[in-house]
């Protein structure tokens, strides 16, 4: 019985705080994406045609680690039995990817465009053992070009 109580408390905490943190994060993501939307992020090796003179080239990088909450993890382990889309992890991946991209943009505020952008999931917590930290890590990097 105490096990079930602890479990329920963890689930409630996970759901409550997880939902709260997620909605806050999405709000911040939307605001910053709107603010930075004029800075192109492109996957091509060559820059878009750009008037002016190239004055600065630098490496732009941004990474983020986002943890899963207890509720999401439980939901995913249930999905593990039946198969199908792990809906509870979708928002984590989405948030991590967008946050990393935003951080990369923010690291070069004066850039005109960022080219050759790559997204990678780096790995700092990959153990599948019980008790390991479940999290998603995304690393975004590219070449920031500044024209004057």
């Amino acid at each position: 019985m105490p096990d079930i109580l602890i479990f329920l408390v963890l689930m409630l905490l996970g759901y409550g705080f997880g939902t709260w943190a997620e909605s806050r994060h999405y709000k911040s993501i939307h605001e910053r994406e709107t603010k930075l939307r004029k800075l192109p992020v492109i996957m091509l090796k060559h820059p878009l045609p750009q008037p002016g003179r190239l004055v600065k080239v630098q490496l732009a990088a941004g990474n983020v680690v986002i943890s899963v909450d207890y509720f999401k993890r439980f939901l995913a382990s249930l999905r593990n039995i039946f198969g199908g889309r792990v809906v509870s992890y979708e928002s984590l991946v989405d948030r991590a990817r967008r946050e990393a991209t935003l951080r990369m943009k923010e690291s070069c505020p004066d850039a005109t465009q960022i080219i050759n952008v790559r997204l990678e999931t780096s790995s700092i917590s990959k153990s599948s053992k019980k008790g390991s930290i479940g999290s998603i890590e995304v690393f975004a990097y590219g070449t920031a070009l500044t024209y004057k």
Binding site: D3, K38, S77, V87
Partner: protein
């Protein structure tokens, strides 16, 4: 081409289904499936139990030490006394093997039947009883479990449950623990039916052994009194169950026209307990 930097209007990477909805669906499905599995495998165990011979049972459980971790070792004189009473009852409850009994030092008022023909009696029970007839009823009850092979069924279902949780979830998972705890309750309900069947068997054994059923219900009356003490816990106590068992036994005794005569007092040390009761 001018770069416009437009943001997408909707997020295609997120499913529309709410996590709570997903939770209800998955948990409901899983519980249903497990319940079905458990029912089917439970029936399979019930079916298989009748094909396990007593010899196989003995062989299977010979190595197992059930009393481990329950009490502070055996109490030899008391064990001998209870064993003598049990052996005396043998002709009233014919079993294909000799049932052995062990008294362990433990304050709980309880007794249990284990596979391989082994009964464990907690010394707390011996402290509470007043008559030999009462103890004979308790022993008869455990013999009833052996007779109906409930001990194998209980083990079998336990193993089914355990195997299921392992199979579904792997050896250490939260989901497995939850299922285990939830279904454990259902298993208790299952054994309640078996308890009353064992009660009926015990009543017949006591009647056969002493020629009357006096003292049979005293054990439950004592348990009922004990459980009534904390008034605020009344709702949760098992006394309605105890009362029902008493009523059922009284009704059965009346139906079969069993008499209630004077009881044989139970004494510790055990030397006197074997004297002065009519056999058969």
């Amino acid at each position: 081409m001018e770069y416009s930097g437009q943001l997408p209007e909707s997020n295609v990477n997120l499913s529309k289904r709410s996590p709570l909805q997903e939770m209800a669906l998955l948990l409901g499905g899983l519980t249903g499936l497990c319940f079905l599995f458990y029912l089917v495998l439970g029936w399979a165990v019930d079916y298989a139990v009748q094909y396990i011979t007593p010899e196989q049972e003995q062989a299977l459980y010979r190595q197992v030490q059930f009393s481990e971790g329950l009490g502070k070792g055996a109490a030899p004189e008391r064990t001998a006394a209870v064993q003598a009473l049990l052996d005396g009852m043998n002709e009233c409850a014919p079993l294909p093997y000799r049932v052995t009994v062990e008294v362990i030092e433990n304050g709980q008022v309880n007794a249990a039947a284990f596979p391989g023909g082994h009964i464990l009696i907690f010394s707390g029970l011996l402290d509470e009883i007043e008559s030999e007839n009462e103890l004979a009823f308790v022993l008869g009850h455990e013999l009833g479990h052996f007779k109906h092979r409930d001990h194998l069924r209980g083990m079998g279902r336990g193993i089914v449950l355990f195997a299921m949780a392992m199979f579904l979830m792997g050896p250490d998972s939260d989901v497995g623990d939850i299922i285990f705890n939830t279904l454990g309750v259902a298993q208790q309900a299952y054994s309640r039916e078996q308890e009353s069947a064992a009660d009926r068997f015990a009543l017949d054994v006591v009647q056969c052994h002493y020629g009357h059923v006096g003292g049979s219900t005293r054990f439950f009356e004592m348990m009922k009194e004990k459980s009534e003490t904390p008034a605020f816990l009344k709702y949760y106590s098992s006394h309605p169950a105890d009362q029902k068992r008493i009523d059922d036994l009284k009704a059965l005794a009346q139906e079969k026209q069993y008499q209630e005569n004077a009881v044989v007092p139970w004494q510790v040390p055990a030397s006197q307990t074997e004297t002065g009761h009519p056999e058969g």
